[in-house]
Symmetry: C2
Subunit: 336 residues, 2 copies
């Protein structure tokens, strides 16, 4: 509640001097600074970010747009882990993160861009959203520094998980285990899905594997219901696969249920693999073989890039950065 003015009165100096003293400018005497700092502490002075932002045009605030199907990215294992890492990193640089309002029902709501301007975000990070939404495009095309995660735009910094490499290594690992009849239940269409699927086909080809069309099926991410069904359909094929890849670890749970219900055992009767490396999959038997996306790194790199873009716009390269994942060898793929 105490302001610079209060301090200046007590110290008998001008407001300017107090401001400069507390910001450690060089043109204030050392003992004056000391005195001012002491009084400031006694008064419990705390600067006012609004006033500062108004004057300096820097809020040290970063807008976060994380929305998934359910209108929120917070309960999404993968994205919340990325966000967590992002948050920790920007906080080290003195930034705070604020969510860009995404409740679209509200009358008189602001668009993402309007909201970002209103709050004066120094930069924004986007992930887990519908990147074809006109509002998103508008925000990305604006003059606000932006970093996107798991989606790339021209002339904008983007950080993506290496889906191509991830699927390749996973498939190579499974192939090394002796499998060649491998099915892939992939996620709903998106850039991520396209990359993974292409990589799947290419790698299969390179490894000399023949993948029948009926082995490639679509489900949705984190949708156990569809994977349950499709798994049953795959197992009912006259020539069923020996290993099934799922859209992600969570979706794999649906498959696990289907398999267990038939009295089959993982991995002795059928092998499976997930994607993501979520916590639950690490702690349940059979420990899921999966590709662990480096959420720590993705969030951290996105944060560093954004801060760099904000603070050193001229010297920051606009680049697309790929963060590779790692195959986690669980016990869900049999060596045959």
């Amino acid at each position: 509640m105490a302001s610079l003015k209060d301090i200046s009165k007590i110290c008998g100096v001008s407001v300017a001097t107090v401001s400069k003293a507390l910001n450690n400018h060089t043109d204030i005497g050392e003992e004056t600074k000391e005195y001012i700092r002491k009084v400031a502490k006694e008064l419990g002075y705390s600067p006012n970010s609004s006033a500062r932002a108004l004057k300096t045009r820097r809020t040290y605030g970063i807008g976060v747009l994380f929305v998934d199907e359910a209108m929120s990215g917070l309960t999404h294992d993968y994205f919340s882990a990325v966000l967590d890492s992002f948050k920790r990193t920007v906080e080290k640089f003195g930034y705070d993160i604020t969510f860009i309002n995404c409740c679209k029902e509200r009358e008189n709501r602001m668009s993402y861009l309007e909201h970002s301007r209103y709050r004066g975000f120094d930069g924004v990070v986007l992930a887990c959203i519908d990147f074809h939404d006109p509002e998103v495009i508008e925000l990305v095309q604006s003059d606000i520094p932006v970093v996107t995660i798991d989606h790339l735009f021209n002339d904008r910094i983007g950080v993506v998980s290496d889906n191509v490499g991830g699927i390749r290594e996973l498939l190579e690992y499974i192939h090394d285990c002796g499998h060649s009849r491998i099915a892939y239940i992939h996620g709903a269409p998106s850039a991520v899905t396209t990359n993974r699927l292409s990589s799947f086909y290419r790698t299969a080809e390179q490894l000399g594997m023949e993948i029948p069309d009926e082995y490639i099926r679509e489900a949705a991410y984190r949708d156990t219901h569809t994977t349950y069904q499709v798994t049953n359909e795959l197992l009912d094929l006259p020539d069923p696969p020996t290993c099934i890849l799922y859209p992600d670890d969570f979706a794999a749970f649906g498959g696990i249920n289907a398999i267990r219900e038939r009295g089959l055992r993982i991995p002795s009767d059928i092998s499976i693999a997930g994607y993501d490396g979520i916590r639950a999959a690490r702690h349940l038997e059979p420990k899921l073989t999966t590709v662990r996306q480096d959420t720590e790194q993705i969030g951290c790199v996105a944060a560093r890039q954004l801060v760099s873009l904000i603070e050193r716009p001229k010297s920051t390269l606009i680049e697309h950065i790929t963060i590779s994942g790692r195959v986690i060898e669980g016990r869900s793929v049999a060596k045959i």
Copy 2:
């Protein structure tokens, strides 16, 4: 980028008129308003929250302190669900949420209270933290409107999940299924744990169940390692329980692994129950019998209370609100 001044120049009216027109005050002519709104739209005008906050002393910002052991509450299933609901609710009232910086390593960092004052939060919500931390106490005792979740302070609004009722109903359900030798692996000491444990003892007594001391064991929340071990120890007892309660669903996974490793089946050989009702537990077989905490309601009520406290401080009751959970009947408790 356009300000009221820019609009006022174009419209040939004063800045005050523009401000009042855009805020729909009554002392501006209808056609003037119309014109001003039109020009504002053309210029892509967006108000500046910093300037507004500076003048009105209201930021429409809410500080969130969600920290768990790992210095983050974001990857915590239960709390991220609560936060998600909280966020959606306050957004409806026009508030944005910002995380209170919790990285304690930073030199020259602000305390939680300092940070909250710096950002001028209209209110703060606390959850999932060490409520004995002096910094937390300082924040709670300050004049900033505060709501705590799953912990209660005198003279401060608190919203808690009904742990007493939850455990009671769960135990009654299990008792109804025919169990009387029930073990409880509880979480690390905390207010939540104390409530659950007391409720466990009391309910057991009321139901006429004898609970041997060796049936009550301590683990940590979300710690599969300890539950794995302790489950084994319980099963090795000369007179093992027929049902084991775990600190939470996630921790139950450790127990599930121990049980399966011994070739035992759930629930025919041993019954188990969790707590929380996390997503993963709903989608895995055997579907876990658990107490689903109403995260939606907890977050929503906390949000409404906080907004009320901010906007109508005089008429808002300082109360402690308990949100009841619900026993979810899975397939992990045998009827015997």
